[in-house]
Symmetry: C2
Subunit: 258 residues, 2 copies
């Protein structure tokens, strides 16, 4: 495989830390000591829809990267690109071994239509709907919740089968651990009881989240800080009974980003 030329330009990462795939890419870069520049986009201010950003990613989604003249989007592809292009990344993140790499690809592919679809659709149709002004679909929420729970069960019985600390029996995390755990972290913004109902039955998943967090500290918590603050705001709102306020705006709930 052709190597990335050593570039005088720093890798640019376009991201919103409230987006789970953005967090996965940023944490990955930080853990691996990649020299990169984070360009913050605020989705709540629709900055990802600007003509300037659409030049970078015509799909208008974060994260996206620019590496010299090369542009790329889709977080899994970005993680794989960085793992292959930057010499400092340790093998366990995306093993060169044909069979282990194939298994990690399989987890990442599975993720899209299962855990990600369940978690994202559920959060959008419960907590984020009212603040984003999106009309919620209760049937979609119910189906997403079912898919989310079955995905968590599958993670336990298939990917976390055995005694490994990470997916596929790994002793060290791969990009699949990081991507899936960042997705689950999004559930932090849910109502606390709901959050416990969803994650409570999955002790192995809870332990694996903790393992992934420990393996990537202090970056994991630092990059999730914005999400933790959003969680607090949502809790305050619930205590004040503001959930039913139709005029509520995203800005009131989300912490200001810098």
């Amino acid at each position: 495989m052709e190597n990335r030329k050593t570039n005088t330009m720093k890798l640019k990462v376009y991201a919103d830390r409230l987006s789970q795939p953005s967090r996965a890419v940023i944490i990955f870069c930080k853990v691996n000591g990649i020299d990169f520049e984070e360009i913050k986009l605020d989705i709540s201010k629709r900055q990802h829809l600007s003509p300037e950003f659409k030049e970078i990613n015509p799909m208008a989604q974060v994260p996206a990267i620019v590496d010299g003249r090369f542009r790329l989007f889709e977080s899994h592809s970005i993680l794989i690109y960085i793992a292959c292009a930057f010499p400092g990344v340790l093998d366990h993140w995306y093993p060169a071994d044909l069979f282990r790499r194939a298994k990690i690809n399989s987890v990442l592919d599975w993720h899209h239509s299962n855990l990600r679809r369940g978690a994202t659709t559920y959060v959008q149709n419960t907590v984020l709907g009212p603040v984003l002004g999106i009309q919620m679909n209760p049937q979609a929420a119910a189906e997403a919740r079912k898919l989310l729970s079955s995905s968590l069960s599958k993670i336990e019985t298939v990917w976390l089968k055995g005694n490994g600390r990470f997916l596929l029996g790994g002793r060290q995390p791969s990009i699949a651990d990081l991507s899936l755990v960042c997705e689950i972290m999004q559930l932090e913004v849910l109502d606390e009881k709901d959050h416990i109902d969803i994650l409570g039955p999955h002790k192995k998943v809870q332990q694996w989240i903790e393992n992934t967090r420990s393996a990537t500290e202090p970056h994991f918590d630092e990059v999730h800080r914005l999400l933790y603050r959003a969680k607090e705001r949502f809790q305050e709102r619930r205590l004040k009974g503001l959930d039913s306020e139709a005029e509520s705006s995203f800005k009131k709930v989300l912490p200001s980003k810098m």
Copy 2:
């Protein structure tokens, strides 16, 4: 990357030719002269839910492969594995070049939550719903149709931008062309007018489907034959006004598979 040991066991592909990712994998193997054994599973007879198959793929989905002692599922991962493991596969299918490979990964990742989600959800909530006995959700169908159309537009304006015959300006097809085209082929079972309404505005997509078909003949049409027969059955049904029959079974509509 470690190479697959030359194996005395033939590659086994578990597939249902009415499943679009199954077709992509079978066509890929045939076009590349891979020595493989196709093990046909009939989803309509729930053969993918058997304990024997769950030993191969605990997610109970086709396609899946067994290569010696190695088991793998998720069609994109399978295509990548075969491209990397079998020496006869030409480079254009999954280029070794870091940048071109990253772009193909990006298309494949994008596919899951866009074209695939739109097409599959739409077909399930229109044509397949009544015959599979699944309760249809008109709102889900409407949203899926919107996602399907916007995905086709994105393919034209982003991935087929320029004058290449294939995605990303390619002169030869990649695994992304094969995966996405097989997905779109599923729309053949739709009502003819609906099919024209969806694909009609996308001339570039139509040309690209034709290019991908030509590049993979005679295997493309041979592997799609079961789908073409299912399409005819659906059309006959419509002419006879059988769509409203609640007791209709999948068997009556789908051609028997062998």
